[in-house]
Point group: C2
Chain length 499, copies 2
C-alpha cells in the first residue's frame, strides 16, 4: 500500500486527486451521456442530508415547495433579453415527440414539434408565467416558493459535481410588492446559505455582491457566497438574485395595490446545487480520501468487529450490537446517531481503509481484548489513520455527540484558518499581476483590491484567468484608486482564480 | 352559495368534478407546455408526505437512493426490443444543444447532436448500463437502488395527476444473482406499495399479476396494485416488474458466481408516481372538495379564531396560540400534529370553506364564548360541513391522535366497502357484455371472470373499452371455462374500465 490511499496526492496533481477521491469514496461516476454524471449512493446520501437541512431552513423562513415543468417553450426564453443571451448557447433543445424506424433497423426522431422546447437551465421564465396568474392583488403577496429539481446547461468542459450538463438543485422564486421586501428576501436567503455552508458543511464562505459582469443574466443584483478550495481557487457556492422588475415585466407579474393601482411586482431567485458536494470534497478531503463533516455525513460511526474464529465472532457481534443500539439512542443535532456495523467477512484493515476513503467521522474497532476490558478502539477521520486510541465503552457512548461536534468544529476552524491565510490586500496592478502569475496548477487565493465599476473587463483578467468573485458585504472603508481604471475606488472586491 | 362547494357534483359530471376539486383545493394547474402540469404547494405538500413515508419504507427494506442521467442515448433504447416498442411513440427527443438567432429576431435550434437523446420515459436502459459496471462478482449482489425523479411520456390525452406528459415518480431498480431472489424482491415491493396505499392513503388495493398483454415492455411478469375510484373505474396505482434476464442481457449485466462461472444477473424494477395523488383525490373526495387522509395530510388541524373587535381578537389569539402549542406536542404516527392558525382578516365561514375544499381533517373554531367555557368547536372533514360540535379544550387536545386515526380508519373502511360492493363474479361472455354496457360516464366496477391465456385480446374488450386489470394473487380455485376463449380457465382475472 502506498503512503496515501489516494494517488496522486493533492500536491502532485490536485485536479486528478479530486477525481480520484470521488472514485475512492464511491460518490459518483461519469455516464455515457456527455457531461452527465451518475450520483452513486454514497454521494447521493450526502445530498439527501444537505437537502433535508436546507429544506427545513427554507420552510422555517416561510417558503413552500412546488413543481413546475421541465420543458420551457422557446418563446418564453426570448422574453428577457439578458436572460436569453446568458443561456442560449447551452440549451438542450427538444424538437420531436416520438421515434420511428428508418427502414434499416435504426430509430430516428419523428413528430416534429411546432415550437421547440428547451430543458430548463433555470426556471424564471416558466415560473414567472404561472406567477402572473397567481398574483392579482397585494393580498396575494409575497409568494414564497422553492423547487427541488434537475436542470441542464450544456457545458463544454465538465467536472463531476462542480460543472455538469445536468445537475440537481433547488431554485427559490419569490414575488413581492416592494423593492425593499424583495431585497430583504434576497439577503435573507444569502444568510441561510452562509449558515448552511458554515454550520453544516463546515465550509467558510464570504458573502458578497457580484460585480456587474458576473451577474445572473437578467438580475439587477446578484449576491454570492464564495468559498476557497485547498488549491486556493475560489468556488461560487450559492447565489441569490434581486431581479428587480425585469422578470415581472417580461412575464407580466402585476398586482393591484392597496390603493387600487396596477403595479409590476418585484421578484427574487436563489439557488444552490449538487456543486456544493464538489466544494465539500475540496474543502475537507485529504490524501486518504473524502472527509465528511458529521452534520451531513451519511454515517457517523462505523463499527468494525475483529475476531479470529466463529466463537469470537459470535461474542464480538453481540457486544457491538449492543454498542450500536446504545449509540443510536444518543443524539446529535436533534436526531439519532447514524451507526453501521460492518460484519462482512473481510480483513478489518481493509474495511477500515474503505471508511477512511469514504470519510466516516468515527471508526470503532472492537475485538475480544477490547471487550474484556469494556473498551473500544476509536479512530477519528480528522486525525491520521494510525492515531487510534482505546476508550471506555460507556464514556465513548456518552460522549459521542460531543465528539462529533468537536470534529465538526475542528473542520470549520481549519478551513477558516486556511481561507483567512489566503486573502491578501493588493493595491496596485503590478502587484496584482505578480500575485496571480505562476504555475497553472496552483492559485494564490483571494486578492482584495480597491475597485470601481469602470475597472470591469480589464484585459489583464482574461490573461491571468482571474475573475472578480464579489464585493464582500462586510468590508472596510476603501480609499485610493481602482487598480484597473485608476479612478477613485468605490469598494473592495475579491478576485481569484476559480472553478 | 350552492349546496355543494364543487360544481358539478360527482353525480352530474365525474370527470369535470375531478378537475374542479383540484382547482378548489389549489393542488395543481395546467401549464403552457402541452400535457405538463404545475404542482402547486398544497398538492406538492401531499407528495412530500407520500415521499417521506415511501422513502422510509424503501430504506427499511435495504434500498439506497441514487441519481442517473435524465437523457438516454437513442441506441440504449434499441437494445431491448419489447422495451423500445413500448416507448418509441411517446419519447421527447433532444436533437440540438444550443440556440441561435434566425436573423429575424427569433431563436432556432443549433448545434445538432451526433446521436439524439431521449428524455427518460423510465430508466431501465441507462441504469442497466451502469449496473453492468458495478456487477463483477456474486459478492456485489444484490444491488438495491431507488431513484426519485421526473420522467416524460408524450401522452396524447392528459389529465392532471392521472396522466401527464411529465410526472414525478420513484423507480426502484435491483440486481440479483438468482431468479428466486429477484421474484421475492418484486413481490416484496408490491407488498410495500399495498401497505402504503392502504395504511397511509386509506386507498384499498388488490394485488395481482398483469395478463401478458398488459405487461411492462420488456418484463417477464408485471405485478400491480389496482384501486377502484368512486366512478367505479379502476386505477393502476403502482407496478412491480420481474424483468428476468431480459434487461441483464440487453445491458450485459453479468457476474462471476461463487463457482467462478460467468452468469447473467436477474433484475427487477418498480414504481409509483404522482398519479397516486389522482387516485387519492378520486378515492376520498366529495362534492365539497378534497378529503386528505390524516397520515399524509399537509395539515392535520386548522384553527380559526372568531372575534368581533380588536380586544376579542387579542384574547382569542392568545388562547388559540396556546391551543396550537399543546396540539403540536401531541403525537400522531410517530411525529407531531401539523397545526395552523389562520388569523387572516376574513370571515370565519369563508376560511372554513377553504379548508373544507382543501381537505384538512379537523377544523377548530374558537370564539370568546368557547373560551369562556374552556371549549373548542370542532368540525371533521369526513362529516358534513355543518356537523360541528363543542368539546372541552383539554379533552380535544388529549384525544387528537385518536381522532385523526379514527378519521383515517373510517376513510379506509368506507373505501373498502365501496370497492368490495363493486366486485362481481361473471362467468359468461353475455353477462360480461351486459355488465359493461351502459352510459359512457359511469362504470360498473370490477368483474372477476374465469380466464385463460388464449382469451387475451378478445374483440369485445376493445368495443366495451374494458381491460384486464390483474389476476389477484389472493384467489379461489377456478373451474369452468375462460369466458373469452372457451378453453379451460386457469385463473380468475379482474376486468374493469380504467384510467
Amino acid at each position: 500500500m502506498a503512503d496515501t490511499a489516494i494517488t496522486p496526492t493533492r500536491a502532485q496533481n490536485y485536479p486528478e486527486w479530486y477525481q480520484q477521491v470521488i472514485v475512492a469514496a464511491d460518490m459518483a461516476e461519469n455516464s455515457p451521456v456527455r457531461g452527465c454524471m451518475v450520483i452513486k449512493p454514497w454521494g447521493y446520501a450526502v445530498w439527501e442530508n444537505m437537502q433535508a437541512v436546507l429544506d427545513r431552513m427554507f420552510k422555517d423562513t416561510g417558503h413552500v415547495n412546488a413543481y413546475f415543468p421541465l420543458l420551457i417553450p422557446l418563446s418564453f426564453l426570448e422574453k428577457e433579453a439578458a436572460h436569453v443571451e446568458g443561456f442560449a448557447k447551452e440549451c438542450a433543445v427538444v424538437t420531436h415527440h416520438r421515434l420511428k424506424g428508418d427502414g434499416n433497423g435504426k430509430l430516428i426522431p419523428d413528430g416534429e414539434l411546432e415550437e421547440p422546447l428547451i430543458i430548463r437551465p433555470t426556471s424564471e421564465t416558466i415560473i414567472g408565467h404561472q406567477f402572473a396568474k397567481w398574483t392579482k392583488s397585494y393580498r396575494d403577496l409575497p409568494i414564497l416558493i422553492n423547487q427541488w429539481c434537475n436542470v441542464m446547461r450544456w457545458e463544454m468542459r465538465t467536472r463531476m459535481f462542480l460543472r455538469t450538463a445536468e445537475f440537481l438543485w433547488q431554485e427559490g422564486h419569490t414575488v413581492h410588492a416592494t423593492a425593499k421586501e424583495a431585497q430583504e428576501e434576497t439577503l435573507q436567503m444569502l444568510d441561510v446559505y452562509q449558515k448552511f455552508a458554515e454550520e453544516y458543511m463546515a465550509m467558510p464562505v464570504i458573502k458578497g455582491m457580484k460585480t456587474p459582469d458576473e451577474r445572473f443574466p437578467g438580475a439587477v443584483d446578484t449576491y454570492t457566497i464564495e468559498a476557497l478550495m485547498q488549491d486556493r481557487k475560489a468556488l461560487q457556492a450559492g447565489t441569490s438574485h434581486f431581479l428587480g422588475q425585469n422578470f415581472a415585466k417580461a412575464s407580466e407579474i402585476k398586482y393591484l395595490s392597496a390603493e387600487g393601482k396596477e403595479e409590476f411586482a418585484w421578484t427574487t431567485s436563489w439557488g444552490v446545487s449538487t456543486r456544493l458536494i464538489g466544494g465539500l470534497i475540496m474543502t475537507h478531503s485529504d490524501d486518504n480520501g473524502f472527509v465528511a463533516p458529521p452534520r451531513i455525513a451519511p454515517l457517523h460511526v462505523v463499527i468494525i468487529p475483529i475476531y479470529r474464529n466463529d466463537e469470537e465472532k459470535a461474542q464480538v457481534l453481540e457486544y457491538v450490537q449492543s454498542l450500536a443500539k446504545d449509540l443510536k439512542n444518543q443524539s446529535y443535532v436533534g436526531s439519532g446517531i447514524r451507526v453501521k456495523i460492518d460484519d462482512r467477512d473481510m480483513r478489518g484493515g481493509e474495511k477500515a481503509w474503505q471508511y477512511i476513503k469514504q470519510g466516516v467521522p468515527v471508526r470503532v474497532e472492537v475485538g475480544p481484548r477490547d471487550m474484556a476490558k469494556g473498551e473500544v478502539f476509536v479512530g477519528r477521520r480528522d486525525k491520521g489513520p494510525k492515531e487510534k486510541a482505546s476508550q471506555g465503552r460507556d464514556a465513548f457512548v456518552q460522549g459521542i455527540g460531543s465528539l462529533l461536534q468537536e470534529i465538526q468544529d475542528g473542520l470549520l476552524e481549519r478551513a477558516k484558518k486556511f481561507r483567512d491565510d489566503n486573502i491578501k490586500k493588493i493595491t496596485s496592478l503590478a502587484d496584482f499581476e505578480k500575485h496571480f502569475t505562476g504555475d497553472e496548477s496552483s492559485a494564490p487565493g483571494f486578492a482584495l483590491v480597491p475597485w470601481c465599476e469602470a475597472g470591469v473587463g480589464h484585459e489583464l483578467l482574461g490573461k491571468l484567468k482571474v475573475t472578480p468573485r464579489c464585493a464582500p458585504l462586510n468590508q472596510e472603508a476603501v480609499s485610493g484608486n481602482c487598480i484597473f481604471s485608476g479612478k477613485p475606488a468605490t469598494k473592495w472586491v475579491l478576485f481569484a482564480k476559480s472553478y
